[in-house]
């Protein structure tokens, strides 16, 4: 029998960026918040030995232990899904701070077009532009409505950046100056400019200068140590929940974090949640934490899983297109990247930071005319200077053997002479890309694993062909001696790292028939449950999602306060 604990105002299932933001905002207002985190406690001092590529990058030190819980994956409904037995295509974090500890820190705002993608596509190109199997939807909120929340997130994290010069993109003023520009970024900028594009330095959560945020939290400037993505920051220069929102919440005295506690279910009766059922994995005991508001803040994928295992909301049915939980799962595409090899130039590629990049948005969103193109949306194009580490950096010109003498000598020769121009390709929703529960495989408690049914569809494959020509063209303009241009986007490879930008499954919108959440991320079907995270995205854009996730979390925090005061549906 699960032991019942005294009721609190708000319980969080997961203590990462979204849980942390909600904890900070609500505890400041005097509400009591209990955060349940399945992983361990984290602090900056943990990163004493962080410059260890094997441990953190190859062995995924900061990621979820898949022996306890994973998901199953397949390309389409006709196939049997197989377990995602090892980390590959994406990396799900755990521990206090969640993925917010090991992210790169690239902090964009999705475009005005993204939030009204259906209306704007129909308006500019007509209904026929949208394929029958693409459930494209507006988000139920506009960019302008979200601006104050973007600003809150950027001020809290101290985003370093410069205004995007593209005429279609709204101007943003960042709290700190852009990061330093490397010679290769300058080459990218000059080449892009001479091709008529609009390059700028990416907005970064790795501070360019020391900064004190509105909560009074001070952090130091980034040292460009080259160990950022997949690693924790030993300086606290990279904004993470552990060095920003969580200390603020703790200082109020209204926040309690219980680590090693896995939420199995949201408990509910008559359309109202009463609390959550969780297991303390150290004692093995089960508890019920009652609360007025339940926040499911466990990362996009786990959010879907908790709702499905709780039988909250109606599960999506790909056959009929009805139901919402698990609908519009989307991802991103990184296969349009080209690599250039420069004989005459050696770059300090061991140096860098996770969000140091030159970017263009000329082929992202609807910033270019799609009238004669066989796809919608696009992706950003960037030259990143993230710090290249020797186990994973072995770029060689096409045709070089993959092992043996020639490989060894070539991979060493080009290690500091090669640059990649990559793209984060957007992924549009498709009726056949969705998440449900696996009929066979179970987690450590015997609960069903998630089943992911996903593949890249025509829209993505066409987009990739278009973007890869541009990444190659930029490298030509930069003067690369040899260029590796990519082939076609094949079937989704679950083993090769692409991106941890998993989105959708608990999407927001204006209509309860086609969305799970309203624009406060409040569940239509259960008014005291809020589900922040990229699971709320009805499609995925061509840039990193965290800025938009953060803004929506601030919006949800406001919604929770309103709900606690007035009750009922907020829209």
């Amino acid at each position: 029998m699960a032991k019942k604990l005294p009721k609190t105002d708000i319980v969080l299932a997961g203590v990462g960026w979204t849980g942390g933001i909600i904890a900070a905002e609500l505890t400041k207002k005097g509400y009591k918040v209990v955060g349940l985190e399945r992983g361990k406690e984290r602090k900056t001092e943990d990163y004493l030995m962080v410059h260890d590529e094997l441990r953190y990058q190859q062995r995924n030190e900061m990621m979820q232990d898949l022996s306890k819980e994973t998901l199953t994956v397949r390309h389409d409904r006709s196939k049997r899904a197989l377990p995602y037995r090892q980390h590959g295509s994406f990396l799900i974090g755990d521990g206090v701070g969640g993925s917010g500890e090991h992210w790169n820190g690239l902090t964009y705002r999705f475009f005005p077009y993204d939030f009204e993608i259906y209306s704007k596509t129909v308006e500019r190109y007509g209904k026929d532009k949208i394929p029958a199997d693409m459930p494209l939807q507006d988000w139920g909120i506009t960019y302008n409505e979200l601006v104050p929340y973007f600003e809150k997130f950027e001020a809290m994290a101290g985003i370093s950046g410069e205004t995007n010069p593209h005429p279609e993109v709204p101007e943003v003023k960042y709290p700190t100056v852009p990061l330093k520009e490397t010679p290769s970024m300058k080459m990218f900028k000059e080449a892009s400019k001479s091709l008529g594009y609009h390059p700028y330095i990416a907005p970064a959560a790795t501070l360019s200068e020391s900064y004190t945020n509105p909560d009074g939290i001070s952090r130091a400037a980034c040292q460009y140590c080259g160990f950022c993505e997949r690693f924790g920051c030993e300086y606290g220069a990279k904004a993470s929940p552990v060095v920003t929102v969580l200390p603020v919440a703790k200082e109020t005295g209204n926040f309690e974090v219980r680590t090693h506690c896995v939420v199995r279910k949201v408990l509910h009766t008559n359309g109202k949640a009463t609390g959550v059922l969780y297991v303390d994995t150290r004692t093995g005991e089960e508890y019920i934490q009652e609360a007025d508001v339940v926040v499911v803040s466990a990362y996009a994928l786990n959010n879907i899983r908790i709702l499905l295992n709780s039988q909250l909301g109606s599960p999506y049915n790909p056959e009929s297109g009805t139901g919402v939980i698990g609908k519009n799962y989307a991802y991103q595409m990184t296969s349009a990247a080209s690599t250039g090899f420069f004989k005459e130039k050696e770059f300090n590629l061991y140096a860098g930071t996770g969000s140091l990049a030159g970017v263009i948005d000329d082929f992202n969103g609807d910033n270019f005319d799609h009238t004669d193109l066989n796809f919608i949306h696009g992706g950003n194009i960037a030259l990143g200077h993230y710090g290249k580490r020797p186990i994973s950096n072995n770029s060689v010109p096409k045709g070089t053997p993959t092992w043996g003498k020639e490989f060894k000598d070539e991979s060493i020769y080009w290690a500091n002479r090669s640059l990649s121009v990559g793209s984060q390709g957007s992924v549009m929703p498709n009726k056949e890309n969705y998440i449900d529960l696996d009929p066979t495989y179970k987690d450590q408690f015997g609960d069903p694993l998630l089943r992911m049914t996903f593949n890249y569809k025509e829209n993505e494959r066409n987009q990739q062909k278009y973007i890869r020509d541009i990444t190659t063209k930029i490298l030509e303009e930069m003067g690369a001696d040899i260029i590796n241009s990519p082939g076609d986007q094949g079937d989704w490879d679950t083993t090769k790292y692409q991106t941890t930008h998993n989105t959708g499954g608990v999407i927001m919108g204006a209509d309860p028939k086609t969305s799970a959440l309203n624009n406060y991320l409040q569940m239509w079907d259960c008014e005291n449950v809020f589900v922040p995270g990229a699971s709320a995205f009805p499609h995925n854009s061509g840039m990193n999602p965290t800025g938009t996730v953060g803004a929506l979390a601030y919006r949800a925090a406001e919604g929770i306060e309103k709900y606690l005061k007035t009750g009922g549906s907020l829209v």
Binding site: S67, R85, S210, P390, Y413, T440
Partner: protein, 257 residues
């Protein structure tokens, strides 16, 4: 020192952090660099007085150079195979000199070899899984290496009537190519291609992982690739046009004062 660095107050107001930074006592260019990289582990550990670290002299004994998992034949087989994947060339040392087979042995002995942080519950469908779905066998890496090594030697015996480690480099390469192409049948639920991919990635890791794992001897892998290893800051060089060569440092330096 740049203006930015002069002005950067690395010490924030929170006292716990200040204490932490003070304890670390590490400076670069006169600026106290705080955070977790300061060496908190003091020199009180007596075991460190032996010359086992990366800064040891050429004559020092490397106590790490011993086997945790392989038997002698298995070790010799992997030592030879890894040398073909990452051979000694004019550019620098190969797998044998870098102690890559010791690295692989040590990795197999631990959680990597036992797949202990991976989902290993059945049912398994190795035959219907394409390579896009990764590891789909009930075998762990120890078992896969056992099967792979056995097959390397049985191929060598069949073709050349000798052990894999005794045949010529060209003969070894030809067998490894057949493994990579999936042309050899292993006596278990795994392909020779998958075994080869594990061996290849482990070999690269052994060349370039921090020497604390037993390979990359004397940081020679890093030196070849001009990778500086563990450094405090590149704030001074990030904008530089010319390539800056830095003598590498390993994580072992965190334990020394």
């Amino acid at each position: 020192m740049s203006e930015q660095e002069k002005n950067a107050p690395y010490l924030d107001k929170r006292s716990s952090r200040r204490t932490f930074i003070k304890n670390s006592g590490l400076t670069v260019g006169g600026v106290v660099l705080g955070g977790a990289l300061g060496s908190l582990l003091s020199k009180d550990s007596t075991t460190q007085t032996h010359e086992t670290g990366v800064h040891s002299t050429a004559t020092a004994v490397n106590f790490n150079q011993a086997l945790m998992y392989f038997d002698k034949t298995q070790f010799d087989t992997i030592d030879a195979a890894a040398e073909q994947i990452f051979p000694k060339t004019e550019v620098g040392p190969g797998a044998k000199e870098l102690l890559i087979a010791f690295y692989i042995d040590h990795q197999l002995a631990g959680s990597w070899g036992l797949n202990s942080k991976e989902y290993m519950s059945g049912p398994f469908y190795p035959a219907e899984a394409s390579s896009l779905f990764g590891h789909q066998t009930h075998l762990n890496r120890q078992q896969i290496f056992n099967l792979g090594i056995e097959a390397l030697n049985s191929e060598a015996a069949k073709q050349y009537k000798a052990k894999f480690s005794e045949i010529t480099a060209e003969e070894q390469v030809a067998i490894l190519q057949a493994f990579e192409a999936g042309e050899v049948t292993l006596n278990g639920a795994v392909t020779s291609t998958y075994f080869f991919s594990l061996l290849k990635s482990a070999t690269i890791e052994g060349a370039y992982a921090d020497p604390l794992y037993g390979g990359n001897k004397d940081m020679a892998g890093w030196k070849m690739k001009n990778f500086p290893g563990h450094q405090m800051s590149y704030a001074n060089i990030i904008e530089k046009d010319e390539f800056v060569k830095i003598e590498p440092t390993s994580l072992n330096s965190q334990h020394k004062h």
